[in-house]
Symmetry: C2
Subunit: 579 residues, 2 copies
Amino acid sequence: MTYTAPITEQTFVLETVAGIGEIQQLPAYESATPDLVQAILVEAGKLASGVFAPLNRKGDTEGAKWNDGAVTLPAGFADAYRQYVEGGWGSLGADPVYGGQGMPFVLASAVQEQLTSANMAFSLCMMLTQGAIEALGAHASEDQKQEYLTKLISGEWTGTMNLTEPQAGSDVGALRSRAEPHADGSYRITGQKIFITWGEHDVADNIIHLVLARLPDAPGGTKGISLFIVPKILPDGSRNDLRCVSIEHKLGIHASPTCTMSYGDEGNCIGYLVGAENAGMRAMFTMMNHARINVGMQGVSVAERAYQHALAFSKERVQVKRIIEHPDVRRMLMTMKSTTEAIRALGYLNAAAVDRAHGESDTEAKREWQALADLLTPVTKGYATDMGVEMSSLAVQVFGGMGFIEETGAAQHLRDSRIAPIYEGTNGIQALDLVNRKLPQGRWKPLFADIRETIRALPGDGDLGAIKPYLDDGLAALENATVWLVGNHGDGFDDAAAGATPYLRMFGIVAGGWLLAKQALAASERLAAGEGDPAFLKAKIVTARFFAEQIVPQGTALLGPITRGGALLFALDEAQFAA
Amino acid sequence: MTYTAPITEQTFVLETVAGIGEIQQLPAYESATPDLVQAILVEAGKLASGVFAPLNRKGDTEGAKWNDGAVTLPAGFADAYRQYVEGGWGSLGADPVYGGQGMPFVLASAVQEQLTSANMAFSLCMMLTQGAIEALGAHASEDQKQEYLTKLISGEWTGTMNLTEPQAGSDVGALRSRAEPHADGSYRITGQKIFITWGEHDVADNIIHLVLARLPDAPGGTKGISLFIVPKILPDGSRNDLRCVSIEHKLGIHASPTCTMSYGDEGNCIGYLVGAENAGMRAMFTMMNHARINVGMQGVSVAERAYQHALAFSKERVQVKRIIEHPDVRRMLMTMKSTTEAIRALGYLNAAAVDRAHGESDTEAKREWQALADLLTPVTKGYATDMGVEMSSLAVQVFGGMGFIEETGAAQHLRDSRIAPIYEGTNGIQALDLVNRKLPQGRWKPLFADIRETIRALPGDGDLGAIKPYLDDGLAALENATVWLVGNHGDGFDDAAAGATPYLRMFGIVAGGWLLAKQALAASERLAAGEGDPAFLKAKIVTARFFAEQIVPQGTALLGPITRGGALLFALDEAQFAA
């Protein structure tokens, strides 16, 4: 099963949703000319379909292998990684001062989307490295940047994020790993970390572990956590005292080694403090925020791949007639197509807001864009990853009995996608972040005004007009739900928390419907102007209408469930849950 | 991870939804006294938790193994099957004339629910045998019944259903297997069948394959198909000319061998015609109708097992506090609990309708019950199996990162459950069956009147009163959607077909909400009368309210999507689906 990068679609979303044209006007991104953007998408698309995609099933069936501390990837992965490094793909969005190309994050996200569609398990190696680049870029000393950041940006070395411990999952404050100061200014790290993605492997020469640990006498909880650089190979070329103890046997992403890492078994694991003592959580949040957008984009990537796979099958498979001619299969394809396009637009808008926050010169504009990025991040992460699972499950359904047979590869998408709603903060945690931390910042008000503007711009009839009442109802419900949640946050944490998950879903659906409507309006203008590919542009309008009619009402209907409060959730005592 | 049969719940649903008391009054089921019913549930529950459940993970990790035509199950399966046979569990619902116990189908379904919760892959062996029992019971000659039916009922032999061929999946009429008459009255079968569940194994002495094939000069399509008994071991003790060519490597149910069967490679595969020539489809439908209810019950079983698993984890796992104390986890648990109870009630009502159709003496009553059974069958199959997948995915989410690790077993439920919306007619086919075949029969009218009756019986306040407006809205939407579909069936197949899948979902949700409300009313009456366990009965009321408030509105909201028509689904040409 091949993968084709959806370059027309990606370009259109970059232009009409992400405002790549405006981003290109910012001094920081002047070099990102339209021609260069296009060339990057095309070349990355070749790497994705030509090199990464052919390894996807092999990665699934063979998987990463652990042997006495070493982890081996299937044949072909190291070479594919070499091509990624040689193409300079890892440096795309990074700081030119340290060897990066300084391209917008949204463009890097579009490239990452392609690579992840092609091979999700493999792309995690790059994603974690990007997280390390961000954390070091924001918090490391100049010396550390010269030593480590440059090699991470070039891709010669890869990075990891070491947060979880056996007793501390979502509750980071409970972590126990320790760091003792050493006379030479370094630290000695001890502790065990679990679920470390690409914690050990054979595709690059060195691995830079970013490890959260506690200094002696550090305060308890999250206020006593510091961040350390812990390289696999030390600057003097010797092996550090750290070890991959085992890798997990997982439902999916088999080619992504999920490692249990042990630091300092022999009391000699050397680490270097990043930033101030006890300031590790802030650094980790820097890393996590972009990681959450990236994980959201994984939902887009898997949904796209599963959709392409199911579409190809539906054109070939005959049951009386080719199954793409059956209304019910058509409904599944339209659901996948429209939902994938909705979450792509959401992810790109989110990433573009990060670029604007970074690149705008006006302080107020920076703050507004940053607030939008912050507001959208839990929605992108939560809604897009949920849709990644639902759409890949729908793809299995299109395949029918063949979808349950592993050889077709349809089931792999479902298995791979299932991790994304869990890691980088479960979607339940995203929903709480949205309701408890993001809504009080108030950035939803101008966002909803933008949505209202798009609704006003829709004409009264035709396909575009058909979108109007559904989006209008959806926005009204979203506004009501938001006001209720903001109002009830003070007098009842459980009431807001109880509605958080359906609220995130409603937010994602309405925002997705809005961004499709925006694209439909833009498509309509281009059609009127005689620009672009009419078949593609007309499809944009039909797709937006389908989503408005079929999907948006499901979001609108969540107003009741969101605002019922938390009392009923706690009406049963624990014993009553069993029958 | 252990499984505990939910006997209090099962008994309550049998009494308040399935009308087991009324079924016990029918002459055919006189022996099914309340004490016996209770004893059967308790004893089957022991077999399920003590014998079947401990093999579930082993069955998943080791799986069925193929070697040169022979298929071996993991150690323990053959012994577990022996215990099943010795306990007489296979004969529970079968005709006493041929060694059965003549218990109601709904009771056999409750037992099957337990065994499937404990070990879905294994339970398929029993389920397929039940299908063969039904087909032979309805269509075989007396000699055939004595020879084969008795052994299938005792469980000494197992049965299979051979329908699918490589080129003929949902389109049964395209099958090509052939049957040539032989001088001795038997037939010589040739052909290849795929996806044959438990087509070869080592847990019983003989396997009776029921094979669909074409006689020479038979008409094309489904009208030229005949049904044959094709035993693995012939009556004279010799091996028949049939062979398991391979087994599939599947997403789940690894302990259920999915076989490619080859018949007559050496031109000497002996088969015996069942019923009339060219009447095979009718016999197959007999088998399939109950099989569809049974598959629907698999959704119940997996949802129950996944729920129990997630519940146990939520009470142990600490993230700041035990995760069952977090509102969002509580929401997931309530969603799983209420949905599982809703689909169980739907499945039991469906099975009870089969019993009433069989056991009532009045012709009109028989017809009414049969029509109800027919109407509900696609809803049970489609809605309950979709929920099986969604609830087991939710269980993975409760487990967080641990849910993605295969060792916890949470992922197995999701993998196992994913086949149920596909086999025995995909859920898309169920939706078309509901809309195109079942709605025109009109049985929905008295059913909806029953739902209206329950709504009227709900008081105006309290937890029961809170249910009322939601169920009322849901029923109104269901009525509207039904009238629209029935009205649009004539003038536009695509319009009805386009709305079929969301319609089935709405039907399932409203029917589920109704049956939970019915139980809540019954619970309220028992509480008032001082009967039963108050904790259990109060939980019933809370659970019904949760489902009404949180889930039913999602069904109501589908009225729009159902009635938008098929035009938009075909607005894109095929090339426009790709971007």
